[in-house]
């Protein structure tokens, strides 16, 4: 734990006086799987990011230096402000998010408790997939079109500085196209004549993830959070 002792105390003192803190405690304990320590740490991190403001704006993410070189940086930041992920309607982007929203987004990445029953695990997987789907489907029409998919591939390929951007563009196109065809094949949408495959729907999207252990891959263990780490 890199959290220095004094700041922790100060934070706790402050939080005790804060009114919303009690509310939050009640709200969070039921809502998410996080325990109290984790929420405290997340809050610390939140304040660090926001600069002690009650809300975070997209610009605040510029402070995270390590995010700079992430090829899908814009998608990640966007995911935090996406209303669909925040459970507020079907589209659009929030201007700013508060701590509660922040935890909501992070909680998509909580690890699966091993002793869950099957339906719960399925629910949980669906939730995660929905989050992922939203990061592909940027315009929120419920379909990942070729354009959208191609942009994903471009983002991914752009990370390699050794590949020429122009080439990336063309290759991304053919890759995205191939991926879409593959999804079309797996889909059980009725393939009508003259009504070509429009794009990947959520159900098809779930199919494309079938072979991946999402529960393992999409989790961040928050137990070892270091609030101060690597942030300006």
């Amino acid at each position: 734990m890199g959290v220095s002792h004094s700041s922790k105390e100060a934070w706790e003192r402050e939080s005790r006086t804060d009114f919303w803190w009690r509310q939050m405690q009640e709200g969070f304990m039921n809502k998410s799987d996080f325990n109290w320590d984790q929420i405290k740490q997340l809050h610390q991190r939140f304040r660090l990011l926001s600069g002690d403001q009650p809300t975070i704006r997209p610009e605040n993410f510029d402070n995270v230096l390590d995010l700079e070189s992430n090829p899908i940086r814009s998608r990640i930041v966007r995911a935090f402000f996406d209303n669909r992920n925040l459970g507020r309607g079907t589209g659009g982007i929030a201007e700013e998010i508060n701590f509660e929203d922040f935890v909501t987004i992070i909680s998509y990445f909580r690890p699966l408790r091993s002793r869950r029953n099957k339906e719960e695990a399925e629910m949980y997987r669906r939730e995660k997939l929905r989050f992922l789907f939203n990061s592909y489907d940027q315009d929120g029409d419920g379909i990942i079109t070729l354009q959208e998919y191609r942009r994903v591939v471009e983002d991914l390929l752009s990370a390699n500085p050794q590949v020429e951007p122009a080439w990336v563009r063309s290759i991304a196109n053919s890759i995205a196209r191939g991926a879409l065809k593959e999804a079309a094949r797996a889909s059980n949408q009725p393939a009508e004549k003259g009504q070509p495959y429009q794009g990947i729907t959520f159900e098809d999207f779930i199919k494309t993830w079938q072979g991946i252990d999402l529960e393992v891959k999409m989790q961040v263990s928050f137990l070892n959070l270091e609030a101060k780490a690597l942030c300006q």
């Binding site: 991190r45 390590d66 983002d155 196209r177 191939g178 991926a179 495959y197 999409m218 780490a229 942030c231």
Partner: protein
């Protein structure tokens, strides 16, 4: 010769009662006998002339000068001169022929592991040698094994290690492979020691150290055969990596332990071994391991650095790789560090950089040579094992042999179930009981433990023969019984399978997930496994790559290969003029009938290649490891195939083009060739695309009006590109501008309208590419992403790149 080998091997099955290759005629036997007789006769000659063997080379040269009275004989035999290389060659040949024979009958490899057959062949050869009362051949000694036979095997498994899953599971692997080997070694050693205390068995003279040593050598498992079975049965990745990691690290740990215990035994007098010594031994164990890894990494970086400068003499690139790996091994051994770990670490370190530095051919050479060397040494060891089975150097003791076998199984079970019980507490997907049982069952002993037992110094181990016998029994039991039954067992238990579909979507998803996770961890300020890897990647990109990899490198090997081939093809086509338009039957109708187009596996494979090579996080597919064989070179084949296919579409379109109603179509061929020297796959792809399009015009008549529509808009741009790039091909470059532009508008139209109907379009060359949005497409894209434009500013600069981009010409 192939017949002989078949014969050699066919004796295996007949010997074991399988009797499947009885159809061979008798003259095969004759040939076999001739070969064997030849080698034995030569060794007979050798024995008879043993006394003169030392002077033989001298005599050879002296004879001509100092003995003038001796006549020049017409035929002379000087076997001694060539004896050692001759015999080595024969042995290696025998080994390879045995392998060939083994694989000639295609069902055999599925039935039993290769090692079984090799041992049987060895036993037969040994039987012949023994039956004809020859000395058993000078099979192996310590230096041969450790200096020549072992390094290639280890190098190979290190070099072909699937890096990413290995490091993803590194905790479990280290925990299991490291502690498992130790528990097994000490467990077996100690329990055998208690057995030896029982007077009735007559084993009282085997002391504790000797037992421990035996435990350490017998605990070296060699699950190569199991890996082959796993690959075939497609078990899940975790399980596979556990066994692979064990195969990789187990040797190293056992050998280190073995050497330390040998050192202890040399101290011998028990009074001298004090607790301090034991502590020193433990410390040494760690030093030996870490030191070995350190030297390995060091030499790995050095060799990667050196390959940076070999572009003009690429013929020696493989040499650099092999020599530096070997050097790391030798240096580590000189310093009494673990050479095995050194060479493993060296291979893992250098692999990534070397692969990017060396030329494609060198890369292939390295891979094949590595497979060859390791395969030869392993085959040799198995055959020697068979040979040394037959003979008088055995000492049978029921108690010792049986208890060894028993303890091997018991301790393996104990170590598997306890260690995995612990590590399961930290895993999201624990190893099921079935998995654990399979891991327990895969404890196949192999060449390693046999060699170590064989190399025990007789002076220190009066009961060496007993040890060798016990090791042989354990090896035979595990290789034959467990090795043959594990395949059916895996199938019967129905172990969780890996989901190894050929899927582009999954490739993309997994990469996106990696970045997403790293990003979320960054946001949370959380330092974890993923971040460590992410940080290393960054460090790697920022520093290591700059130092270790050539500057003006072709972007990645598949890209460069692709360009090279394309260029070559283009030049050929320009030189020979129009390719002859032989009939290339169109494959459209069946494809159309299918409705939704299928991607061929090759397409998926090559897409995966591109993804793997170019993505930020390199992910090699894991489960393609095969100890003995390399997969066919897909990328090269693939690129060629793409070209051929593209050529076909070109030809076809030409053929059609002539019959098309509008006149200008005939001129297209010139432009096609002209576009090649850009070296830009886009342009090449575009025209393939365009060619396709002309194919489809019968079905989509709507495109024709669009053909000439956008002239003025892009004319200037087109002009610029042509003048920029087309110097060498000027003579062909006449009046094609308008036409060439028509292709662009075609393709952009295709993007907007046509792609929806993609399921109706027949298969295209893989790398066809649509540069749809340089003009109109870009705008619509901007519009659609208007809301998200601040999120994705990186799309905008694409046009600049487009203008300045003409890679092949510039490089020249």
């Amino acid at each position: 010769m192939a017949h002989i080998s078949t014969q050699v091997c066919s004796k295996g099955p007949t010997g074991t009662g399988l009797a499947m290759l009885m159809a061979f005629r008798s003259w095969h036997w004759l040939l076999l006998v001739m070969v064997l007789a030849c080698s034995e006769a030569s060794s007979y000659v050798n024995e008879s002339s043993n006394s003169t063997a030392q002077q033989a080379p001298d005599a050879r040269f002296a004879a001509s000068s100092s003995d003038p009275e001796e006549r020049i004989s017409v035929f002379e035999l000087d076997y001694d001169y060539v004896q050692i290389p001759y015999e080595v060659t024969l042995w290696i040949l025998l080994a390879s022929l045995a392998k060939i024979g083994f694989h000639l009958y295609h069902k055999l490899p599925h039935l039993m592991p290769e090692s079984c057959l090799l041992i049987i062949v060895g036993a037969l050869v040994g039987g012949i040698i023994f039956g004809t009362h020859h000395k058993s051949p000078p099979v192996m000694d310590s230096s041969i094994y450790f200096l020549y036979l072992l390094p290639p095997i280890v190098l190979e498994s290190g070099y072909f290690m699937p890096t990413r899953p290995f490091f993803e599971n590194i905790g479990s692997i280290l925990w299991w492979a490291g502690l498992g080997a130790l528990i097994n070694a000490f467990g077996i050693g100690l329990s055998l020691y208690f057995i030896c205390q029982i007077k009735a068995f007559g084993l009282g003279d085997i002391n504790l150290l000797q037992n421990l040593l035996f435990g350490s050598l017998i605990s070296a498992v060699d699950p190569v055969a199991v890996l082959a079975v796993f690959e075939e049965a497609r078990v899940n990745e975790q399980l596979y990596m556990m066994i692979f990691g064990e195969a990789l690290l187990n040797d190293g740990i056992s050998v280190v332990l073995y050497n330390i215990l040998i050192a202890f035994t040399k101290m011998h007098k028990f009074e001298d071994i004090e607790p301090v010594d034991i502590l020193a031994g433990c410390a040494r164990f760690i030093i030996v391991g870490c030191g070995g890894v350190f030297f390995g990494i060091l030499f790995g970086f050095i060799s990667a650095f050196i390959t940076r400068f070999t572009q003009n003499i690429s013929a020696i690139e493989p040499l650099i790789v092999f020599m530096f790996s070997y050097l790391s091994y030798l240096v580590a051994e000189t310093l009494y560090l673990s050479g095995i770990l050194a060479i493993t670490a060296c291979a893992v370190t250098m692999k990534k950089y070397v692969e990017e530095n060396v030329s494609q051919t060198s890369y292939t050479t390295i891979k094949y040579f590595m497979k060859m060397l390791s395969s030869v040494s392993e085959t040799l060891i198995f055959i020697f094992m068979g040979v040394s089975t037959v003979g008088k150097n055995h000492e049978w003791n029921w108690a010792f042999v049986c208890f060894t076998l028993l303890f091997c199984q018991i301790w393996r079970a104990i170590s598997v179930f306890t260690l995995f019980y612990v590590s399961n507490q930290f895993r999201t997907f624990p190893f099921s009981i079935k998995d654990q049982f399979i891991i327990f069952y895969s404890g196949v002993r192999g060449a390693g433990s046999f060699s170590l037992a064989f190399l025990l110094p007789l002076s220190l181990f009066p009961r060496k023969k007993l040890f060798v016998t016990a090791t042989l029994v354990v090896t035979y039991f595990t290789v034959f019984f467990q090795g043959i039954t594990i395949g059916p067992l895996v199938r019967y238990l129905d172990v969780r399978k890996t989901n190894k579909k050929e899927s582009i979507n999954e490739e993309l998803h997994i990469r996106l997930m990696d970045h997403l996770k790293a990003g979320i961890e960054d946001v949370c300020g959380h330092w974890s496994h993923y971040q460590v890897r992410d940080k290393f990647k960054k460090f790697d990109h920022r520093y290591l790559r700059k130092i270790l990899i050539r500057k003006n490198l072709p972007k990645s090997s598949i890209v460069s290969l692709y360009k090279k081939l394309e260029m070559k093809q283009a030049i050929e086509m320009v030189e020979t003029g129009v390719p002859t338009c032989a009939a290339f039957p169109s494959q459209e109708p069946p494809e159309r009938a299918q409705g939704i187009k299928r991607l061929s596996p090759e397409d998926v494979e090559s897409m995966r290649n591109i993804l793997t090579r170019n993505m930020y996080q390199v992910r090699q597919r894991t489960l393609s490891y095969n100890k003995y064989n390399l997969k066919a070179q897909t990328s090269e084949k693939q690129a060629k195939e793409i070209l051929i296919r593209r050529q076909n579409t070109l030809r076809e379109s030409l053929r059609k083009g002539r019959s098309l109603p509008w006149g200008k179509q005939a001129g297209t061929k010139n432009f096609r060739y002209l576009s090649f020297p850009y070296g830009n796959p886009q342009s090449a792809g575009r025209e393939a695309r365009a060619a396709e399009f002309t194919d489809d015009d019968g079905i989509d008549p709507g495109f024709r009006p669009l053909m000439y529509s956008a002239h003025s808009r892009a004319g200037s741009l087109q002009e610029k590109r042509l003048t920029q790039a087309m110097i060498p091909m000027k003579r062909l470059h006449r009046g094609e501008k308008a036409l060439s532009f028509s292709y662009r508008s075609n393709s952009s139209w295709e993007e907007h309208v046509g792609w929806r109907g993609m399921d109706a379009i027949r298969p295209k060359p893989l790398f066809y590419a649509v540069d749809e949005e340089y003009e109109s497409g870009e705008q619509t894209e901007e519009e659609t992403s208007a809301s998200g434009s601040r999120w994705a500013p990186e799309h905008r600069h694409s046009r600049e790149h487009y203008k300045s981009h003409s890679p092949l010409l510039h490089r020249k």
